[in-house]
Symmetry: C2
Subunit: 209 residues, 2 copies
């Protein structure tokens, strides 16, 4: 599967528009050092963009940049996870593949990368309503996306959304543990546990006509 990182999208090549370079570099820095822990000068340097360009492309300053990073990263990961699901024969193996893919990614990046949405969500949920709302919107879009998978597999809508919530919760939480402990076991175990639940409930579902 594709690696769950945006690293390869932050080149110094002039072919990539300045605004995109800034966005990608910001996402990389935010997910590793946090939102508060990342300075605009660092972003300017990492994106090979002069400092003034940041305020040209993001007149709202760091906050606007943060919001754009959240929303773009959210979209990126939603598409990525959907592609992982699409590459699997059924829902249960799809769930396993998502967690195993995440485990592989954190291992390959030497436990450097976290989910930028979760990092910012934890940091600013209490203090910055604009960014909090952006993270909430992203989580909701992920939930809607996953819920559709579960309903398509036969779950009633209500239960499908609950399982989507449980999936994303487990994934984000296991990410935190795996990175802190430098051990991917939390991710693989969380994935298998949830996959087992889905499999069992799926088998107990009444047959569709």
């Amino acid at each position: 599967m594709r690696r769950m990182t945006t690293e390869q999208l932050s080149p110094a090549e002039p072919a990539v528009p300045t605004k995109q370079r800034i966005l990608y570099a910001s996402a990389e820095l935010f997910r590793r050092r946090g939102y508060s822990g990342t300075g605009l000068k660092q972003i300017s340097q990492a994106s090979h963009a002069p400092f003034g360009s940041l305020y040209h492309h993001f007149p709202g300053g760091k906050e606007e940049l943060g919001e754009d990073v959240i929303r773009e990263s959210g979209e990126f990961f939603r598409v990525l996870v959907e592609s992982v699901f699409d590459g699997e024969p059924d829902l249960v193996s799809g769930v396993r593949a998502v967690f195993d893919g995440a485990a592989e990614t954190v291992r390959v990046t030497d436990f450097q990368d976290a989910c930028p949405v979760a990092v910012i969500a934890l940091e600013v949920a209490s203090t910055n309503e604009r960014l909090r709302l952006a993270t909430a919107d992203v989580f909701e879009s992920w939930i809607v996306s996953a819920t559709a998978r579960f309903t398509a597999a036969g779950f009633p809508k209500r239960r499908a959304r609950e399982l989507a919530l449980a999936l994303i919760s487990a994934l984000e939480g296991a990410f935190v543990l795996a990175r802190a402990m430098r051990d991917t076991t939390a991710l693989t175990v969380a994935g298998r546990t949830l996959a087992d639940t889905v499999e069992r409930e799926l088998a107990a579902l009444p047959r569709r006509s």
Copy 2:
């Protein structure tokens, strides 16, 4: 149950030793504004301690203070969760009570408080080895604590630890979602999902002699 917050432990009363006031105020600020997002001058102000006292009690500066906050908060929450478990008649209702208690807490604090350990873990796991190690130690202590509960209920040690990992992952992840979305559903759903898994596996366990 007791509220999952240290708020009440950060009084201005001179009866509380300065060092403790600093620790409590730091924990409060870190969990709401993050580690990088909290300044030492803020801590000095919130703890009603002169700035110099910070470096008197924590010669290692912000990093030492951060480590102490992680380890003390970790111990605090471990004891708190154990007391919740002890107040329930069995393991399954204990699991539910922990998640429901967490949901109640975030609701009561108006979604202000996160888990300080998770916040710092996400922020600094890649950039500060000392703090990363402290968060890893805390997570490990939680896992050990939860594993003991599961083994006592009859699970084999290997599976007990897996369930402990799944529990803490789900709890931390649901915390992130609940706070960002200002909705405790993620916590209650994650708790119920995990409790169901535990209940089912418990029933399938061979009877103990």
